[in-house]
Symmetry: C2
Subunit: 245 residues, 2 copies
DNA sequence: CGAGGTCTTGAAGACGATCAACAAACGTGG
DNA sequence: CCACGTTTGTTGATCGTCTTCAAGACCTCG
């Protein structure tokens, strides 16, 4: 199925950065991939506590990992873009320990856990790559933790923009210095652990410093070295591995 | 080697909670385990950017995952206790993206990456368990992120104590309501992203509320329900799976 | 055109940081 | 065993960042 092959292209591109898949591995994934499904913005892609039987891959759109606290607030702990696995963790862990929600309209495909099980039995190299993929998530979480404790709101926000920009660029989703990032300030606040009001003011400061422009759904990095400096950004933790910039 | 078997006991106990290892899997790990090594408190167990050839398991003691920021501060993003893998991520990822330092005197054993590679080729069930283990880390990171954004200093600190208490208990390292936690207030501050002064005051508040006692290197939970409530603690994310309390 | 969501601005107040100093605990060598 | 320096813990005062509350502007979509 060439249509499925093209659907999985963002995922393959992700692997190609680090360690390309063999044809047999690609074919195996393609053979076990469902038809494309469309998910409307704001709807859930995964539920905390749920035990999925399939693993989803985000083909197009933006999604967020969320954690709901007892007092009713929900915190965004990570963003997903094209080529990211949505709930691959739930394959080894059996249970999803956080929620995932679509930020924009999304397209996904699914791979049954039975196929992943088979992969671990017969495709050790692929298994190691899947494993690796889930670990990059953890690395990003650590970086967020570090940023939150060590920097002020401007630094944290700049850091997030740096991360999203580099990630978008790595999968070919950036146009020059711009990338698609259709989130609201409320969502940005939830990701940074700040109030909406303060996000708004911090945003204005970054704009005023000439670091970024943000109109509609496009973020333009107008001063990349400046933004990286403000964020103290070192992309090593993303494990993109062709050390660019 | 029965001595090595007993060294790996904390690790096996960790697996037993979720999905026990077969005898063959245990034997394989035992056969590929190095002699015990002792590491002095405050010395490094792993360096950011390093490419390890072996993976270490913490047998005894407390260690911390650290990230060094440009401005010279180091942030603690996680704690390790007996039975935790120190740098298993670096096997699939090839590179360690953060530092690890011994908090107390530690004992470790090492497993060469070559053995892990062989495990992925011939022990798929073991591989899935190793994978699973690395994912619990990510889950804890997410919870820390959520806690940092959503709660004040008291809540965050209570959350950390809850987590450490449950984890210590799960590997039999707790005595009643007490557990060994030989860290300084500076290290606690670095883990919570707070100043030392504020950690000190927050600690006094928790003590004053009768939630914990902390003398020397022992933390005693004097009011477990109260501590959990203050922390809004739900242990599901630890994936310990015998839902206790 | 109205309604709801999003963005923006102002003012007051809380939480935590920083600075500074001192007390207590610890380990080491004399 | 005591004297000493170093690390850790404790307290007070001041300041800044960020939160909260409140209200108005803008925008999009029915």
């Amino acid at each position: 199925m060439d249509s499925k092959r093209s659907l999985l292209e963002p995922l393959f591109a992700r692997f190609d950065i680090r360690d390309p898949l063999s044809e047999a591995e690609r074919d195996f994934l393609i053979a076990n991939t469902s038809e494309e499904r469309r998910i409307a913005a704001r709807s859930p892609l995964g539920h905390e506590g749920h035990r999925p039987t399939h693993c989803a891959v985000l083909i197009d759109g933006i999604a967020a990992r969320t954690i709901h606290t007892v007092n009713g607030t929900r915190r965004i702990v990570g963003f997903l873009i094209a080529g990211d696995f949505i709930d691959l963790q739930a394959f080894p862990l059996q249970r999803l320990d956080h929620g995932v929600e679509a930020i924009s309209d999304c397209r996904i495909v699914q791979i049954p856990h039975s196929a992943l099980l088979q992969a671990t039995e017969t495709f050790p190299h692929l298994t190691r790559l899947l494993w690796q993929t889930t670990l990059v998530e953890g690395s990003m979480h650590r970086q967020w933790l570090s940023a939150m404790g060590a920097m002020d709101a401007g630094g944290q926000m700049a850091h997030l923009f740096c991360e999203q920009f580099m990630r978008a660029r790595s999968v070919g989703m950036a146009q020059g210095n711009s990338f698609h990032f259709p989130i609201t300030q409320e969502q940005l606040a939830s990701a940074l652990g700040l109030s909406i009001v303060h996000v708004n003011r911090t945003l204005q400061r970054l704009r005023g410093m000439g670091l970024i422009r943000w109109q509609g759904q496009e973020v333009e990095v107008t001063n990349w070295p400046g933004l990286k400096h403000e964020a103290q950004f070192d992309p090593a933790y993303l494990h993109l591995d062709r050390a660019e910039d």
